[in-house]
Amino acid sequence: MAQVNASLPEAEKAYSFWKDFWRRFRRNRVALASLIFLVILVLVALLAPWLAPYDPYLGDMPNALQGPSQEHWLGTDELGRDILSRIIYGARISLRVGFLAVAIAKTAGVILGSLAGYYGRWVDNLIMRFMDIMLAFPSLLLAIAFMVVLGKGVENAIIAIAIVSVPEYARIVRGSVLSVKENTYIEAARAIGNSDLRIIFRHILPNVLAPIIVRGTLGISTAILDTAALGFLGLGVQPPYAEWGSMLGAGRSYLFNAPHLVTFPGIAITLTVMAFNLLGDGLRDALDPRLRR
């Protein structure tokens, strides 16, 4: 059987891997539902200008702090802006920060982790001790500290959240590289004269993909929560931009007379984060049965 597989052409092998993955993933209905929810959310974010019933930045003072109604499904905020429209636009920012922060962190983490794992010795020591220092700080606290240095704003929030999540990826990749590089096929690849870079990218990294994808999906949910927290503290996205966390921060002053201001953005955050968590769990089960709890 092993010999038959070995003789299959490359394309067909890859095809069967993804087919196999999809077959296992599809069986997990909760994960599938999360995926569908997130696809819809991404579409909503992309099509925000067409889907939002109102301009999210247009104030309407006479109609400020209205509860949910026929005209404004989720009510209006302290400036009379439509909350549903602001939540729809807010999805753009939350998803963008989530995806970008994880993409940056993943890239840096993969590079640092594979260098540390592949070369070992002083390279490993230098990189991983630095990562250990960063892990000594609670991640949100470190992100806050970076925001204080970098200044407020959404770009800086992306950078801060990306930086604080690098160590986790670096650790996962380093661990996987350490176990993969002892295999005979790596020795073989080296024996036929492949360069270190080619061995890392062509032969080692594809084998550590599963944990990185899983960690990345779960990482997006952390990134969205951290963005919301920074926004809530007034450090992230600045007004008038609609962002779920800063909407909560602004709505805080109206807890007594307009609780809907903080209710709906919070539900949006919770559902999105929950969907990414469930999707991550589903991917883990489908990609690597050994990782299953």
Binding site: L141, A229, G234, L255, T263, V273
Partner: protein, 296 residues
């Protein structure tokens, strides 16, 4: 100093603050001072930062301990029941609850609790640490402990009432993690041969679950509890802001908003140090809990 300061005055202040020294000398002096407990002075209040942090620290510790107590107790109980009754309605509901717990922003939960229990039902206070005028005599700085020591019962009731909502909000995330962890380790332990042996020799189910299974299942749970204690400190930054709790978390946020750098630096260093120390303590405790582990 204002815009009308003379060159001499500016120069004198630069000299006083040590800004004329090379950067590495300034940094060295900064580290040296920290090691001697001197974090500099707050730009807002001109008071020594260390003093400010020290006076607000008990509030944060009190909040974090209360949260940890709630999270560990409820988390372990829910986890055990869910594992023992796997695939029951309770199991499903509690795991959905745990998923919601890790997905909810902690500050949103805090706001929701305020809306429900303080604004609508009026059972508990909206914010603060104790009612005005009821503050107990300062002995330890922990209001609950101080009011018990001085037998000041009205203060104790007020302090407890103020503590409930922030502690529950802060506990929720850790509670969810602990419940999940307890459930999965319990399930693993319950499948072991020695559990079958315990059942076979006729022990009661309670004895099997609590004496034989839980004690072994708790080892990894303790690590998680330790790690969560660290996380509670960063969660406190958000919870304290929501509930206007006068601890170091809200001190940090105030410092950030006022660009009070000495204050921010010191608070971050203190919280991170506590985080590291707690993790170290957990590592050491591990040896006592699991005799198979030895550090050489």
């Amino acid at each position: 100093m204002g815009q009308h300061a003379t060159t001499e005055q500016i120069e004198a202040l630069r000299e006083e603050l040590g800004l004329n020294d090379p950067l590495y000398v300034q940094f060295g002096r900064f580290l040296w001072d920290i090691l001697h407990g001197d974090f500099g002075r707050s730009l807002m209040t001109r008071a020594p930062v260390a003093q400010e942090i020290f006076s607000r620290f008990p509030a944060t510790i009190e909040l974090a301990l209360a949260a940890m107590l709630i999270a560990a107790t409820v988390g372990i109980i829910v986890g055990v029941i869910a594992a023992v009754k796997q695939y029951s309605l309770f199991d499903y509901l509690s795991m959905i609850g745990a998923l919601a717990g890790v997905s909810m922003p902690i500050f949103w939960l805090g706001l929701m609790l305020i809306i429900i229990f303080a604004v609508n039902l009026g059972w508990l206070p909206v914010a603060g640490r104790i009612d005005i005028g009821l503050e107990p005599q300062h002995i330890t700085g922990f209001f609950i402990l101080d009011s018990i020591l001085t037998r000041n019962w009205p203060a104790l009731v007020s302090a407890l009432k103020h503590l409930v909502l922030p502690a529950v909000a802060l506990a929720c995330y850790s509670m969810a993690i602990i419940a999940r962890m307890t459930r999965s380790t319990m399930l693993e332990v319950l499948r072991q041969d020695y559990i079958r042996t315990a059942r076979a020799k006729g022990l009661s189910e309670t004895s099997v679950v609590y004496k034989h299974a839980l004690r072994n299942a708790l080892i990894p749970v303790v690590t998680v509890i330790g790690l969560q204690t660290g996380m509670l400190l960063s969660g406190a930054v958000l919870t304290e802001t929501v509930f206007s709790w006068p601890g170091i978390g809200s001190l940090l946020v105030n410092g950030i908003l006022a660009a009070d750098y000495p204050l921010v630096q010191a608070t971050v260093i203190v919280i991170a140090s506590v985080f590291v120390i707690v993790n170290l303590i957990v590592d050491i405790l591990y040896v006592y809990l699991d005799p198979r582990i030895r550090y050489s």
